[in-house]
């Protein structure tokens, strides 16, 4: 897939009405929140992530493989409600050309600012409200002097840049939406970030329900899934449901991850691992992860 890596360097030029209005370039990190950080940490480690740093002031760990960063947040302020037992996706951080101007632009369009709670000497990362209780961050400090250098302390003796284990890269996010909410959420991601709807017949992986939006940088897919029609009387929750990883060879990835102890859904008649994709088995304690054939 085409990655326009020059976009981040164009900082001298004003943001115009471009197809990629924020200079979006994929995801800097995904943040989970959970009352059981060790459980999620173990399942991330089976996928090849390594804990590389700890937050300076809170119970927050940074996991990494390749260019993917996952943050596990088990911090809870005394006034906050209890953390969920089961890990949930709390935030997605977009890499953008200029975080401050991206933030101003989306607020001008009607996004809700999230008030930040920054401790002394910590970075103020601008954020807006996303679906449900989730947030969307804007990050422009990528590479040598990154956001993690300020807020996180490296774990001693650990390789800060562990390579990918099974040829994985981030492919996208799956979002559950309410009844008749497809047009709304398409407008949300389209208006604020420049995402575009893929044709309805285009699908990836083994779970092909819903519609897929593609980021203007072409590296991120956002899949919107409506409730099943027979659930018609329930007002369903809207949330970020799971992360999908791309792999050039799903079956080989699955074989490697099975050897590392990852369990997959293998239903003879339903979802099972194949060359198009695979899904890790859901459990009471951890989220599922999806794998999608993507030769990037």
């Amino acid at each position: 897939m085409n990655r326009p890596t020059t976009a981040l360097q164009d900082s001298r030029e004003a943001l115009g009405d471009l197809p990629n209005p924020l200079g979006l370039l994929g995801v800097e990190f995904i943040e989970y929140t959970t009352a059981r950080p060790q459980t999620l940490g173990q399942s991330l480690e089976r996928l090849g992530f390594r804990p590389v740093a700890r937050h300076r002031s809170r119970e927050v760990l940074l996991y990494r493989q390749g260019d993917m960063n996952v943050i596990i947040n088990a911090h809870r302020a005394p006034e906050d409600p209890p953390l969920p037992e089961r890990a949930t996706i709390a935030a997605v951080a977009f890499r953008v050309r200029d975080a401050a101007s991206a933030y101003r632009r989306v607020l001008e369009l009607g996004a809700w600012a999230v008030p930040t709670r920054v401790e002394v000497m910590e970075l103020n990362i601008p954020a807006i409200h996303g679906v449900g209780a989730s947030r969307i961050y804007f990050v422009d400090r990528v590479g040598e002097f990154s956001i993690y250098d300020v807020d996180f302390v490296p774990i001693p003796t650990v390789d800060q840049h562990p390579p990918t284990v099974a040829n994985l890269h981030l492919f996208g996010i799956v979002q559950y939406i309410g009844f008749e909410r497809l047009a709304d959420w398409c407008a949300f991601y389209g208006e604020l970030f420049g995402f575009a709807e893929l044709p309805a017949e285009q699908s990836f992986g083994v779970l092909t329900q819903g519609r897929i939006l593609s980021s203007p940088c072409g590296t991120l897919h956002w899949q919107l899934i409506e409730p099943a029609p027979d659930a018609i009387d329930i007002d369903p929750e809207e949330l970020l449901q799971r992360v999908a990883f791309g792999s050039p060879d799903v079956l080989s990835t699955v074989a490697q991850l099975k050897a590392r102890g990852v369990e997959f859904v293998e239903s003879p008649s339903g979802v099972h691992s194949g060359s198009r994709g695979a899904l890790t088995r859901p459990s009471d304690t951890g989220p599922t992860f999806e794998f999608v054939h993507d030769p990037r």
């Binding site: 809700w112 679906v131 047009a183 208006e191 809207e238």
Partner: protein, 303 residues
């Protein structure tokens, strides 16, 4: 509830009452509506923030009533402002969205600006309405934009539809109020231009005199002298309005928004019964809706 009442209520399930028509505390209004056989209620912010035990208690009272929330009103003078006035209105809008969400309201009513500081540029109005709809979007709330008959730049239904179309946003649509259409004597043919799936709410009221000549007169009449459909002098026009909306394919909610100083000082059951009589007339004589067959599934409407 006797058998006769429960049978007839299946006719008028599409009709509800606005809390602003009744006097007294929120709980008494909800109880009076329920007793009159209504199953939905259009809430006003004042009922919620004015609750003596606070907003949470008001939300709890609405939930406990079992009445479905038709919508939440009203955001005024949002569009067309600039600088700090715009910023101020965005804060107000966010508060309104927050309350609507807490109440389980799916529709927030916004009416066309009366402010002399507001721009009349349709591009500016459309951009601001788009922003308002975006503010409501993550919360699952639709914005129904209504032309006030004394609006500064925009006071007729087809003008509101023009800017809603221009804004072109999935959760931005129309609030239609029969009072304003009658007061401005707008030709009902203008409704035919509107996409019925973009009508999120229809508010109904009549009034007692033939015409309102000035904006000032329209405002005075709207705030003090409205009556229920069937009680005023425009019954024919109201009936035609409803039949036209029905023929267009509108299947959403109707609510009685009757600002009336007399009704504000009469016993609630008496006023609610007048609302009930009005709903029966509209459901059975005007729309002639058939009773749904027993066991027939009723799909939720878009609104």
């Amino acid at each position: 509830m006797n058998l006769l009442r429960s049978v007839s209520s299946s006719h008028f399930a599409d009709f509800g009452m606005d809390t602003i028509t009744l006097a007294g505390p929120l709980e008494a209004k909800l109880a009076a509506m329920k007793a009159a056989g209504f199953s939905q209620v259009m809430l006003a912010a004042r009922d919620i923030v004015g609750h003596p035990q606070g907003i949470d208690a008001a939300v709890a009272a609405v939930k406990a009533s079992g009445l479905r929330v038709t919508g939440f009103q009203v955001l005024r003078d949002f569009e067309g402002l600039s600088g700090h006035l715009h910023g101020y209105k965005v804060d107000i809008a966010k508060q309104m969205v927050g309350m609507a969400r807490a109440l389980g309201a799916k529709v927030l009513l916004a009416c066309s600006s009366t402010s002399q500081h507001a721009s009349g540029d349709p591009e500016v109005i459309a951009r601001d309405l788009r922003k308002l709809a975006m503010l409501a979007l993550p919360h699952g709330i639709k914005v129904a934009y209504e032309a006030l008959s004394w609006g500064r730049h925009l006071n007729e239904v087809h003008q509101a539809w023009d800017v809603v179309q221009r804004a072109d946003f999935p959760n931005l649509g129309m609030g239609i109020d029969s009072y304003h259409i009658l007061a401005t004597d707008t030709a009902l043919e203008r409704l035919d231009e509107i996409d019925p799936s973009k009508i999120y709410l229809v508010q109904l009221a009549d009034f007692m005199w033939q015409e309102t000549r000035t904006a000032q007169e329209r405002m005075e009449t709207a705030r003090h002298f409205r009556v229920f459909p069937g009680e005023g002098v425009h019954s024919q026009a109201l009936a035609e309005l409803l039949r036209r909306l029905d023929a267009m394919g509108y299947r959403g909610d109707y609510s009685f928004e009757v600002f009336n100083d007399d009704y504000q000082q009469l016993p609630l059951p008496y006023v609610a019964e007048r609302g009930r009589a009005s709903a029966l007339w509209l459901a059975e004589s005007v729309l002639k809706r058939s009773v749904p067959l027993p066991g027939q599934m009723r799909l939720r409407s878009a609104a």
